[in-house]
């Protein structure tokens, strides 16, 4: 019952080896484990295979920094602060990255299958779209479908034999090496309590072989266990924990702080070119650690983002305008 799951930010990034498959907590620009993302960039991680229910700013940082070889997901952008993923877009055009497209529900159900220990999920979504165009099986085209960690097929069609419900799309479980989560609270033994929408956090934590949880606060395990029905992820599903206040910045965290729209807008603007990204990374990532990053952001900015605890969002800041 000791706290031997504790690691540092640097150690968290070191657990993620070159060539790992990786996924994250959160949704687009909310609750992304940015402090670990920045540390991965500092550590020059390479050849990552991102498998994400949806992408967001974390994707764009890793892709911009050249950490990613394969991106398997359904969406990337910065919501209203950047209408698409400019780094990914540029690298796709230059064929510097493999993109495997699924629909959002397909990605969610793929993680749910992996979390459930099933090899695949059964859905009826996106029939008739180019998501199922057999020419667009990009991992297949690259010869990477080994049937081990990467499924032998992107998807398969079948007919429902039980109720005559027609065409079904079978999508393979999303098997990932490591999930990195960013949440409000984790207990000393690994119990996670997420406040607000939990997005796909329970499924990605369970789907991954190793789960790292970065939290705003490490809290006494007994505190969380007093109300077990409010907890999101069980202790034994979590391998490593670390405390990192404001670790999701510039993405937002329900009840704690809003998305830093100005930051993301600036970032998006810079990512229209590789040089722009490199300059941004030079200023905000390289040569800094998490505390010096926060110092650089400064108190006025962080206080503006701070959520009103009655409302769970900031009333000082909205929209990065």
């Amino acid at each position: 019952m000791s706290s031997d799951k504790r690691i540092t930010l640097q150690q968290a990034a070191e657990i993620i080896k070159d060539g790992s498959s990786l996924t994250f907590s959160g949704f687009t620009i909310w609750r992304r484990p940015m402090a670990i993302i920045f540390e991965l960039i500092r550590q020059h991680r390479r050849w990552l295979h991102l498998i994400e229910v949806n992408g967001g700013s974390q994707t764009e940082f890793l892709v911009g920094a050249g950490c990613v070889d394969i991106w398997e997901s359904c969406w990337v952008g910065h919501e209203l602060y950047g209408k698409y993923g400019a780094n990914l877009s540029r690298k796709v055009a230059n064929k510097e990255i493999i993109v495997e497209d699924y629909s959002h529900a397909e990605m969610m159900f793929r993680f749910a299958a992996a979390a459930n220990g099933s090899p695949y999920a059964v859905t009826q979504t996106a029939l008739g779209t180019d998501l199922h165009n057999p020419e667009y099986d990009m991992l297949g085209r690259a010869g990477l479908r080994d049937g081990k960690r990467i499924a032998a097929h992107k998807y398969l069609f079948t007919e429902d034999p039980f109720f005559g419900a027609g065409s079904q799309v079978l999508v393979p479980a999303a098997k990932v090496d490591i999930a990195v989560l960013c949440v409000q609270q984790v207990g000393e033994e690994g119990t996670v309590r997420v406040n607000g929408q939990y997005y796909s956090d329970p499924e990605v934590a369970r789907a991954a072989d190793i789960t790292i949880v970065m939290a705003e606060e490490i809290v006494p395990e007994e505190y969380l266990r007093r109300n077990a029905d409010q907890n999101t992820i069980a202790s034994f599903e979590v391998n490593h924990i670390l405390e990192c206040p404001f670790g999701a910045h510039p993405t937002g965290m329900f009840g704690r702080y809003d998305v830093d729209g100005y930051f993301l807008k600036d970032f998006y603007g810079m990512t229209r070119t590789q040089e722009g990204f490199d300059d941004f990374a030079k200023e905000w990532i390289h040569g800094l650690d998490h505390i010096s990053y926060l110092e650089k952001l400064g108190w006025p900015r962080m206080l503006k983002l701070k959520a009103n605890t009655a409302l769970n969002y900031s009333v000082r800041e909205k929209g990065g305008k």
Binding site: L80, D101, A105, A126, Y313, G319
Partner: protein, 273 residues
């Protein structure tokens, strides 16, 4: 509050689109809305003629009643007044199970069958421009009984063939060959409906369910059917035009600009006088 229609100088195209979209909703319906104008439109309906609609956001809030517009479906604001806050598995399960009456979505390109593209411009294997990707667009559209698309109207966006079918229209590709077949045929028992309207900056478009083809329903004030036809790369059916799109009422404008989106995050305010 005033229910009379606003005059043309009192509103912009975004206002008009939101109001037209909002009127697609009936009270008590379960509606699944994406980020941006779709979100404004549906919350406008919630605060006007459809107070009992049940609003679902993809990131995991069910029957939410945000007091002001969230910045995205993952925003903390989505949860205000919600019946349940959970996650994506819950939201998509509810949709696949068949609870959703109406989906509200956006798109970059649309073809005459209502197939929508949000993935890339140009050849998928050699794209000119990679866009965001599908998100939940095909899912919401596959699972809902009706789907309304809100898009900017440019001629290149109303195209005979979208670069990539991200979201299924009324005639879709049957794999492995890719020949176009009617959605009803492909979806079989899972067929619930399809795109019911496209609301652009030019007009409101609907679909003939039999042929699957788009037709012009109403022209936005100041535009003629012929002008709109010329704004499409495919042959737009303008034989069924019903006249003008109703403009926003002053009530609706008040709700959009003073209640939902005072910061003008999604809907710019038209300068008056």
């Amino acid at each position: 509050m005033a229910t009379e229609y606003a005059t043309p100088e009192e509103y912009g195209l975004a206002d008009l689109m939101c109001c037209a979209a909002s009127r697609e909703v009936q009270d008590n319906e379960v509606v699944f809305a994406g980020t941006g104008l779709p979100m404004v439109a549906i919350m406008l309906a919630q605060k006007t003629h459809a107070p009992n609609l049940k609003l679902i956001f993809e990131a995991g809030t069910l029957d939410g009643r945000p007091p002001e517009i969230p910045t995205s479906v993952g925003d903390a604001r989505c949860e205000m007044g919600a019946s349940r806050s959970s996650g994506l598995y819950d939201a998509f399960s509810i949709a696949q199970r068949g609870y959703v009456d109406l989906g509200f979505l956006g798109g970059a390109e649309v073809d005459e069958y209502g197939n929508v593209n949000t993935t890339c411009i140009g050849d998928y294997l050699n794209p000119e421009l990679r866009l965001t990707g599908s998100g939940g667009n095909p899912d919401i559209n596959s699972f809902a009984r009706r789907t309304v698309f809100i898009m900017a109207h440019e001629k290149r966006r109303f195209t005979p063939q979208v670069s990539y079918i991200t979201s299924p229209g009324w005639r879709v590709k049957k794999w492995p060959g890719g020949e176009l077949v009617h959605r009803r045929e492909l979806y079989g028992a899972a067929f619930r409906g399809g795109p019911s309207a496209v609301i652009s900056t030019a007009g409101v478009f609907r679909f003939d369910e039999q042929s699957g083809r788009m037709y012009l329903d109403t022209c936005h004030p100041g535009k003629t059917a012929e002008e709109i036809r010329d704004l499409c790369h495919f042959e737009l059916d303008i034989s069924r035009v019903q006249g003008e799109t109703s403009p926003p009422t002053r009530d609706e404008l008040y709700i959009i600009h003073d209640v939902l989106d005072p910061e003008q995050i999604f809907v710019p305010k038209v300068k008056k006088g």
